[in-house]
Symmetry: C2
Subunit: 348 residues, 2 copies
C-alpha cells in the first residue's frame, strides 16, 4: 500500500498500539502513545504524529524511555502538583496530568500540574480537548532540557528549545485550540526539511555567525532557530521561551542545570474552571462573541477567510475519522518496517 | 524647569499623589496610581508612566474612573478569585490583586485572581516585583475591551488590543521581568509617534486595505497594529491575543460582548509558589543556570552583550533612584499644568 492510502483511524491506532506493546511499553502506555500520535496525524501535525514512532521505539530499545510504572509524586497540595516523570512516555504523562489538572480545577477553581523528567510529549494541542470538552480552559507549556536550538535574542548560541505553549479555549461549538511556539519554526519540521533538501520561504533560522538564513541545514553546524518575531522583534519569542523554561523546568526543579541525558521534556499544565470565576455562561458569552468577530472579519485575501486556531485541525480530524488517515510520505514505510521487525502485520 | 531636569523619585511620587488626590481619588488609590506611574517612568516604560496622568485625570473628571471603594467579589474559592473592578484605578486594583494572589499562592501553591471592569492598569512589569520579591513566579495578562486595534491574523478589522502578558521570574540576584505583547508595538507608543510625526523602522502596522506600513497614522483611518510575527508568522501573536482575551475577559465574565463605555481593562494574575512544586532551591538552581547561559551567550553584535528581560529596566530604576527621574519630553509640562489647575505646586 502506498502512502496515499487512507487508513481507518481505529485500525491505525491499534497497529501502533501493538507495535509499542511489542517493543515493551506497558499496555496503558502503549495505548496512550498510539492514541495521541494518531490524533496529531489526524489534526495535520504530521511532524508530531506517527512520524515520531521510530524515534520513540529506538528510545524504548535503548532504555531512554521507561516502559512501565507511575511518576514519583514530588508534591501534592491540591491545586498544585509536581511529578517526576521518570522518563515515562510523554503522551501518557501528558494525558494523566491533564486529567488530574481538570479534576483538581473542578475542586479548587484552578490547578497546575508540573511534570519534570518526561520523555517527549508530541503535539500539545491533542491533549487540550480533554479540558475543553468539560468546559475548562487549559494551557500546556513544554520545554526540552535535552535540546538547545534557540538562542537568547541578540546571542548566537542555542540555549533553549522552541518551548511551545498550547491553549484550549471553550467556545459555543468547537473549541479554539492554539499551539504557539517561542521560535518561528520547530526542530521536527527542520529535520524533515533537511531530509527533503527544502528551504524556508523566509529567514527563519540563523547560522552560527548570526547571519539570517532560509536553510535548515545551518542547524547542523551550530546555527539556531530564530525566536518568534525574528531579527525584527525577537525579544518577544525570547521572553516567551524564558517564561516557559521557568514554568516547566523551574517549577519541576529538574532541567538544564542537571544536563539530562537522552530525550527529556518538562511540561506544566494549568487549568481554570470558568464556573469558579465569572461563571461558565458568562465565559462562553465572551468567547463566543470573540470567535464570531474573528470568523466574520473581512479577510485580507478574499479567497482566504479568517480562521480560528484549531479550526482547520478539527476539520481535518473530522475528515480523517470519516474517510481514513492519509499519512505524510515516508511514515507508513517506516511504521511497517517497525512492525515487521517485531513480527506484526497490518490488520486494517 | 526643563524636562531634562532629574527630579527625586519620592518628590515626584508625592507631587503626582497630591494631584490625583485633589482630583478626587481616595488617598489609597491616589498613592497607588502615583507610585506605579513613577515606577514605570523609572523603568523606562515612559509611555506608561506619568505620561498617562492627564488622561487618567480626565477620566476622573468625567466619571469614567471610580474614585473610591472596593471591587465587587464575584467569587472566592481560595486559589480562584474573581473581582468586578467597578472601574476603580487599574494601578490600585492590580496591586491589590497581586498582593492577594501572592498570599493565596503561599496558602495553596498556586492562585489566580481575575479582575474585570477595571480602569487602565499601566505598565504590567511594575507589579511583578511584589511577587518576585517573595520568591514567587507571577504572570499578569491584560486586555482592554474598550479598544480594538489588533485584527485576527489574515483579517483587516481590529477586534482585540495588544493584550500583553508579563512574567516575573525569581532568579538568584535580580529577577527576570518580561513584558510581552501580542502585537509588535503598542497603542500608547503609536499615539506618541503620531504626535511626533515619527515612523516605525519596519512594517509594524497595516492600513485598512491590508497594506503593511511604517506609518502609525494608518491607525487613525481604520488601520491596525500587526500581531507579533507580522505578516510572516503573525498567527503567533494572533494566538496569544486570543488566549489573553479568554483568560481575562472570558474568566471575568465581562468584556467585549458587553461593549463597555469608557476605558475598560480586564486582567488575570496567576502566581505559582516554587516551594509547592519542585522546591524553591531547585527552582532557583534552574533559573540561575538559565540566566547565566543567556548573559554569557556570545553576542551577535560584539558591542551589545545579551541581556535578560528587565535587566535594563532595573538598572534604569537604580539610576533614577540615585540621580533622580528624568521625564520624557512633554510630560513635565503636562503634569505641571494639571497641578496648577488644582492650585498645587511642586515641592521637590
Amino acid at each position: 500500500m502506498s502512502d496515499a492510502t487512507p487508513r481507518p483511524a481505529g485500525a491505525l491506532r491499534d497497529f501502533a498500539r501493538r507495535i509499542f506493546g511489542a517493543a515493551g511499553l506497558a499496555p496503558d502506555k502503549a495505548r496512550a502513545v498510539a492514541h495521541y500520535l494518531v490524533e496529531a496525524d489526524m489534526m495535520g501535525h504530521t511532524t508530531h504524529g506517527l512520524a515520531l514512532a521510530p524515534w520513540y521505539l529506538a528510545g524504548i530499545d535503548e532504555g531512554v524511555v521507561t516502559r512501565d510504572g507511575t511518576p514519583e509524586v514530588i508534591s501534592d497540595r491540591g491545586p498544585a502538583v509536581c511529578w517526576r516523570g521518570r522518563r515515562l512516555p510523554g503522551a501518557w504523562l501528558a494525558e494523566q496530568a491533564m486529567l488530574l489538572a481538570c479534576a483538581r480545577a473542578r475542586d479548587f477553581g484552578t490547578a497546575t500540574v508540573v511534570v519534570g523528567d518526561s520523555h517527549h510529549n508530541g503535539a500539545l494541542a491533542a491533549y487540550l480537548p480533554i479540558a475543553t470538552g468539560q468546559g475548562l480552559m487549559a494551557s500546556i507549556a513544554s520545554s526540552s532540557p535535552s535540546g538547545a536550538q534557540v538562542a537568547p535574542f541578540g546571542g548566537l548560541k542555542g540555549v533553549m528549545t522552541p518551548n511551545p505553549v498550547a491553549y484550549g479555549i471553550p467556545v459555543p461549538g468547537r473549541p479554539i485550540l492554539i499551539d504557539l511556539s517561542a521560535s518561528i519554526t520547530t526542530v521536527n519540521l527542520a529535520q524533515r526539511m533537511i531530509r527533503a533538501g527544502e528551504r524556508y520561504d523566509h529567514d527563519w533560522v540563523m547560522d552560527a555567525e548570526g547571519n539570517p538564513s532560509r536553510d535548515p541545514e545551518v542547524l547542523t553546524a551550530g546555527g539556531t532557530l530564530l525566536p518568534t518575531g525574528g531579527l525584527d522583534h525577537g525579544q518577544k519569542g525570547y521572553g516567551l521561551a524564558l517564561a516557559v523554561e521557568a514554568l516547566t523546568q523551574g517549577l519541576a526543579g529538574y532541567g538544564r542545570a542537571d544536563a539530562p541525558r537522552g530525550t527529556n521534556a518538562a511540561m506544566t499544565i494549568t487549568v481554570h474552571d470558568p464556573e469558579a470565576f465569572g461563571g461558565a455562561r458568562a465565559f462562553l458569552r465572551q468567547t463566543g462573541w470573540l470567535a464570531e468577530a474573528c470568523r466574520s472579519n473581512p479577510p485580507r485575501d478574499p479567497s482566504r477567510p479568517v480562521r480560528l486556531p484549531g479550526q482547520a485541525a478539527q476539520a481535518r480530524r473530522d475528515r480523517a475519522l470519516a474517510e481514513g488517515v492519509t499519512l505524510h510520505p515516508g511514515i507508513w514505510e517506516a511504521l511497517s518496517a517497525e512492525a515487521e521487525k517485531r513480527g506484526l502485520g497490518w490488520a486494517g
